[in-house]
Subunit: 376 residues, 2 copies
């Protein structure tokens, strides 16, 4: 059974107060839903996305080849998060470039495109905006909030901001905050974008250009951190792009890994928004629920009431298993119900999006035991 | 006793054939020497440098404050490589920007600055040019060739290209080749430089500009790979640049790690040459002595006759201890004399330049037992 996805949009009149001050007026959220909300309204699952993803989580668009959602291996009829049983909601975050209000939209205050004036939004702001969408869909309590990487941070934040509005938080390949190295990589990517002459202080739209050089560098760098050393050596190693003969050139492509990265950078620079890149990496940098508790994560997570599933991947050096274990430890210290799996996978951070059978089986088993309080 | 360094230069008339084809004509090498060559000419030690270093290895320049050589903690009177006993030679590599013939010099073929036309030079080419300098200094056989990182690759290559011309090879924090991730980081740095509009295809000198944006990104990225995750978390963690209040800005500096990286990038872009950066990272990419032996490092190292000291550092994820162990294993398989130390140091790749007492004591002990065949 194929799942046909339909993008939806909802406008919000009431200004959204932002953590960084001020508020966002007249915004809209793009979202999709899969499956049916049951009579008890107890089977809704919210999926939160990471940097380069959207509300289009599962299924495909009618008549559009290769339009599968970014977590289509995880979510759909008969899949680990089974849309025959669950009502799944995908939502695009504010500040993104895939539909919800973002830097390329009109600022109602000025009548001009936001560009760099789009306010800095945080994980907490996203969660607040998602809660309003969930309100609008008539859902009091979610069966689960689930996400990987930055999406996992949102699931964790849901459990703290709205402890009674979710029964399960599924936090995959994530971390309770970024460490210095994570922030450092984000900063290099941001500097590449901001110092691209085509960035024009973030108001490049009105110049009819895009800071593609910076976006390419940002994406190439990102890709290195998504992959493990192992998988890079296995997939690319030192293999040459063109057979056996070296070109002895500093600018031409010599190794296959160079070709792969350049291709990824080029593709990304064609569709991703530079201001969105800055905003999303900053949301990552800022997320740190323990900060208000002098760094004490146990105290920070004391508010959480949900049951938790955490998953990490052994070769993920971006959000290493040790970071998941910090969260597990803090939750256990609070006597919360926690399941934790450390999957021995070679693919690095990217593993959370891939078809690892143990990982998919584990998520399936977890969702199967989620009680919907219905007759089924 | 302070060591006063004096930069020297030697011109070479005979063209240097290059691995990538063609040859380099009328080149000169900048170098320095410390200590005295003994009567037996048996106490010479050649020091090879990595990316951002030069012939100025030890001592300082008369009347110039803060002009210490880059390995002044290692080399000098009474230091681990004791210039009271050894005659130490520092040499700047071809293609560098610190004195020896490089991209900013005049191409004798055209009468114009080389720029991007400077030929690609390899580790093997550097070693061949260093051997000519050693010839010119009247030294038949070196007591040792020593280097860290890319410098270690040169020491290894010496043992293969001129097995009878060195008695010891000291290879620190190095690798027998770059892996895919290493090449990937180099490629991101190169793309940042090459796509900087001020690069002008490598002929920026005649435009009176410097591709500083690209150099900054390259250096920021480099710095992340030189440091360990641990040391970054200890030194910077999530500390804010300006006290406790967040600015909620995508472009202003928020975290101390951002400030540190930007500062390093700015400094570097003021003095380092963009073409040199491309050339040196390419020399790193290309180095792979096992390649001619279908990847069999044991066969590749069979030619080596020197005794070896290898040192690695536990938190070095750029050239991890496993890479040093590959070399140790191949040398042992060839029944070569090898000493190997894995130093438990928190500083990452940078550790090879720092004052770790165990590391310095180890190198000292190794050099003390080097036999000079003299009366001493």
């Amino acid at each position: 059974m194929t799942l046909i996805a339909k993008p939806l949009s909802l406008s919000f009149e009431q200004p959204l107060p932002l953590q960084g001050g001020g508020s966002l007026r007249n915004y809209h959220l793009s979202y999709e839903t899969y499956g049916e909300l049951n009579a008890e309204r107890s089977n809704a699952v919210l999926i939160c996305h990471a940097l380069n993803a959207s509300h289009h989580v599962a299924g495909h668009y009618e008549g559009q080849a290769k339009s599968e959602g970014w977590w289509d291996n995880m979510i759909g009829p008969g899949k680990p998060v089974d849309t025959n049983r669950f009502f799944v909601i995908g939502v695009n975050n504010l500040g993104s470039c895939f539909g919800s209000t973002g830097p390329m939209h009109i600022n109602p205050e000025t009548g001009r495109v936001y560009g760099a004036d789009f306010p800095v939004v945080t994980v907490e702001d996203w969660v607040a905006s998602q809660a309003r969408l969930v309100d609008a869909l008539g859902i009091e309590q979610l069966a689960a909030v689930m996400g990987g990487s930055l999406g996992g941070m949102q699931a964790l934040s849901w459990s703290l901001q709205f402890p009674d509005r979710l029964r399960h938080a599924v936090v995959i390949a994530s971390a309770p905050n970024l460490n210095a190295e994570n922030i450092a990589f984000n900063e290099v990517a941001r500097r590449a974008i901001v110092t691209d002459p085509d960035f024009h202080g973030g108001h490049f739209y009105q110049h009819g250009v895009v800071p593609k050089r910076g976006l390419r560098i940002a994406r190439m760098l990102g890709h290195i951190t998504y992959l493990s050393d192992d998988v890079m050596n296995t997939k690319f190693g030192r293999m040459l792009q063109s057979g056996a003969a070296l070109k002895y050139s500093t600018q031409e492509i010599e190794f296959q890994i160079e070709s792969y990265l350049r291709h990824q950078g080029d593709k990304f620079s064609e569709y991703f928004d530079a201001n969105t890149y800055l905003l999303i990496t900053r949301a990552l940098d800022y997320f740190d629920p323990a900060n208000a508790f002098k760094g004490d994560l146990t105290q920070a997570l004391a508010r959480a009431a949900a049951q938790f599933l955490l998953v990490s991947f052994t070769t993920d050096w971006r959000f290493a298993p040790a970071r998941s274990r910090e969260m597990v430890k803090a939750l256990v210290a609070n006597e919360r119900q926690v399941s934790y799996a450390e999957i021995d996978a070679p693919h690095g951070h990217d593993a959370f999006l891939l078809d690892d059978p143990r990982y998919l089986a584990l998520v399936r088993a977890y969702f199967e035991r989620i009680d919907l309080g219905d007759a089924a």
